[in-house]
């Protein structure tokens, strides 16, 4: 089955992060495929954020590649996830 591994970079005081979280939750219910969302708190795991060169949160990496910085449009995010889900098939 197609898989997507999402890293949702966030921090406790971040304004846009809850919106991204909500978006990812609804998209993982909506899309078929195995979607794993890992929340990465950049104040706890600073090295991971640095490896991606993340300068601000929210930021989303999909299958190990940083795709979005800031809050994306839901359609854009959906498109990016679909691309990943479809590429194995």
């Amino acid at each position: 089955m197609a898989e997507v591994y999402i890293e949702d970079f966030m921090s406790p005081g971040c304004v846009g992060c809850p919106a991204v979280k909500e978006m990812l939750k609804s998209l993982s219910e909506e899309l078929s495929g195995e979607i794993t969302v890992e929340e990465v708190d950049i104040t706890v795991d600073t090295t991971r954020a640095a490896q991606y060169g993340i300068m601000s949160v929210p930021a989303i990496a999909i299958n190990g590649v940083l795709k979005f910085m800031g809050v994306p449009e839901k359609q854009e995010l959906k498109k990016a996830l679909m691309e990943e889900l479809e590429r194995d098939e």
């Binding site: 898989e3 600073t46 090295t47 640095a50 060169g53 190990g64 590649v65 910085m69 590429r87």
Partner: protein, 565 residues
């Protein structure tokens, strides 16, 4: 962990190795790649900020893209002194979870296309103190165009206020002036005083920066620095910047005699024209017609390849330690204020006069670690206070008032630097009194305005009661105003004390979490001038290594996301 990792989807080969980063360990990884035809590697060991590159390099010639080599840190769960340390079972659970995530990430990851981008060979240096100046001059001499941005109207930073510097007792402005003067005329340095960076976008090689130039209300090109406007200006105000509140200046002023650039600036808060719409005397007397009340803030856009942050420090406000009576008692001052009083270019022209009655003090107590090494203020050691207290004690005893009794009341004297211990020894020899303890509080005598302290000195086993004329507080160095906002603007991290955070506290001291942005001087943590100079040169060297090739390979996502953002 080996057993559980072997069961994860996609894992072909697992082994353990005591020293993966050793030559032997690296050969073992290379052999495993060859024997098992591996194309993706996860190394489970320590901090990737230092060692990821080691593993990427050792596997690269076997055709493995660096993107397919990952290093995850599980040592943090068990390492002595690690802030993330947990018990053994928890550590095992955490590690298994991290390995699972890393394997999954690596399995699903695909090659990240890289784009070669041209780099801009100019550099932004934020902060015109001694560290920022050194970095700017180093880079400018190497041929880079440097934009040096300083918030204040003059460059030189805190060093210009120190009068003398330890351990040589050189005159601070004298050894600083060659640098400020050179920066002012260097063809590769664009000096932007009275300015602040307000927006930063982009990535290494191609940062786009907006700098806001605050108005001086004096045309820098026309002003000759003759000082006639200052002479005629009727508005006298307390000089909180250069004289640290102990002297006066006018509403139009040149911060100090050796100021660079030597151009007047109008302080809007105190200018009669700006506040009441009257006066304009400066405009009338200026022979160069340089006064321009119509100046407005101006935003300029700069394209730079790298950024160095050298925003320095501020002195901790000791009024927060109410027991010492700063701001309540007139004769309690800080070491920075004392430096201004001792300076021949200071408000008293080098005469040590206590603030309340302008009399020479016959006794002075310096209290160390005010706001430093204090869990209720700042837990860290500010590292320079012991030395500047010794310096001021020497100046008082040897140059200004040899008969005055000087006491230094301390927890520990920390004099770790080249020539510093000898300096401490000399201070003891010239008759400065050291009290191994700090007073619980300072009380003012209502009539004489003298200050009374009680200190217990365990070294001599006695409770001392001192009545002195002047108390000087050796205050902590704290991150300069605006550090937090700048960190947010640049996307770089701060440490627990609010200073800019380096990638690694021992090995990568001037790099930040953002490639292309470097830190140096006291902005990174309290330090003295020699250390600031060394760091500034290190930061300049880092910039040079990144920019000198003229182009840089970056992962596509960095280039794209930063552009669309």
């Amino acid at each position: 962990m080996v057993e559980s990792s072997g069961k994860l989807e996609g894992v072909v080969f697992v082994t353990d190795n005591k020293f993966s980063c050793s030559e032997e360990g690296q050969i073992a990884i290379q052999n495993a790649i060859k024997d098992n035809n591996l194309d993706r590697i996860v190394v489970v060991a320590c901090d990737p900020s230092l060692h990821l590159m080691t593993f990427q390099r050792c596997t690269k010639h076997l055709g493995i893209d660096p993107a397919f080599v990952d290093l995850i840190d599980i040592r943090k769960w068990t390492m002595f002194g690690s802030p993330s340390k947990v018990d053994k079972d928890q550590a095992l659970d955490n590690s298994k979870r991290l390995i699972e995530q890393a394997v999954k990430r690596m399995r699903l990851k695909r090659i990240i296309p890289k784009i070669t981008v041209e780099v801009n060979s100019s550099v932004l240096v934020i902060g015109g103190g001694v560290a920022g100046l050194e970095a700017s001059l180093d880079l400018a001499d190497k041929g880079y165009k440097v934009h040096l941005v300083e918030r204040l109207p003059t460059i030189g930073g805190k060093m210009a206020l120190l009068y003398k510097v330890f351990p040589t007792n050189d005159c601070a402005p004298c050894i600083l002036a060659p640098k400020t003067a050179y920066a002012n005329i260097h063809p590769n340095i664009n000096l932007l005083t009275n300015s602040e960076a307000t927006n930063v976008e982009g990535h290494i090689g191609n940062f786009s920066v907006v700098v806001n130039r605050n108005p001086r209300y004096v045309d820098e090109k026309k002003c000759t620095g003759c000082g006639l406007c200052i002479e005629k200006c009727p508005a006298k105000v307390v000089d909180n910047e250069y004289s640290r509140g102990l002297g006066e200046r006018k509403a139009i002023y040149i911060p100090y005699d050796q100021a660079i650039p030597r151009k007047a600036v109008i302080d809007v808060q105190n200018c009669l024209y700006f506040q009441k719409g009257v006066c304009r005397l400066c405009e009338k007397v200026c022979p160069a017609s340089a006064i321009d009340f119509k100046q407005r803030p101006k935003a300029i856009e700069l394209k730079v390849g790298a950024i160095i942050v050298a925003t320095g420090f501020d002195e901790y406000n000791p009024a927060q330690k109410i027991e010492y009576g700063y701001e309540r008692y007139g004769n309690v001052i800080t070491q920075f204020q004392l430096a201004r009083l001792l300076d021949i270019d200071g408000p008293t022209r080098g005469k040590l006069l206590r603030p309340t009655d302008r009399k020479e003090p016959r006794s002075v107590v310096m209290i160390q670690c005010v706001g430093s090494r204090d869990e209720n203020a700042n837990g860290y050691c500010s590292s320079v206070c012991c030395m500047y207290a010794l310096k001021h004690a020497q100046i008082i005893k040897e140059m200004v008032l040899p008969d005055t009794q000087v006491y230094i009341s301390y927890i520990d004297m920390r004099t770790t630097g080249k020539g510093f211990e000898e300096y401490y020894k000399r201070t003891r020899e010239i008759g400065v009194n050291f009290i191994h303890g700090r007073p619980a509080e300072v009380i003012e005598d209502d009539k004489t305005k003298n200050l009374i302290l009680k200190v217990e000195d365990p070294d001599i086993g006695a409770l001392l009661r001192l009545e002195v004329d002047l108390v000087v507080l050796s205050c902590a160095t704290i991150p300069s105003k605006g550090t937090k906002q700048l960190a947010e603007l640049l996307g770089i991290n701060l440490d627990g004390n609010g200073f800019f955070k380096e990638v690694h506290p021992k090995l990568r001291l001037v790099e930040t979490n953002v490639r292309g942005i470097y830190i140096c001087g006291s902005a990174q943590g309290p330090k003295d001038i020699p250390d600031s100079i060394v760091q500034a040169k290190a930061a300049a060297s880092c910039v040079d290594s990144e920019l000198r090739k003229g182009e840089i390979q970056l992962p596509e996502f960095i280039v794209k996301t930063k552009k669309t953002n």
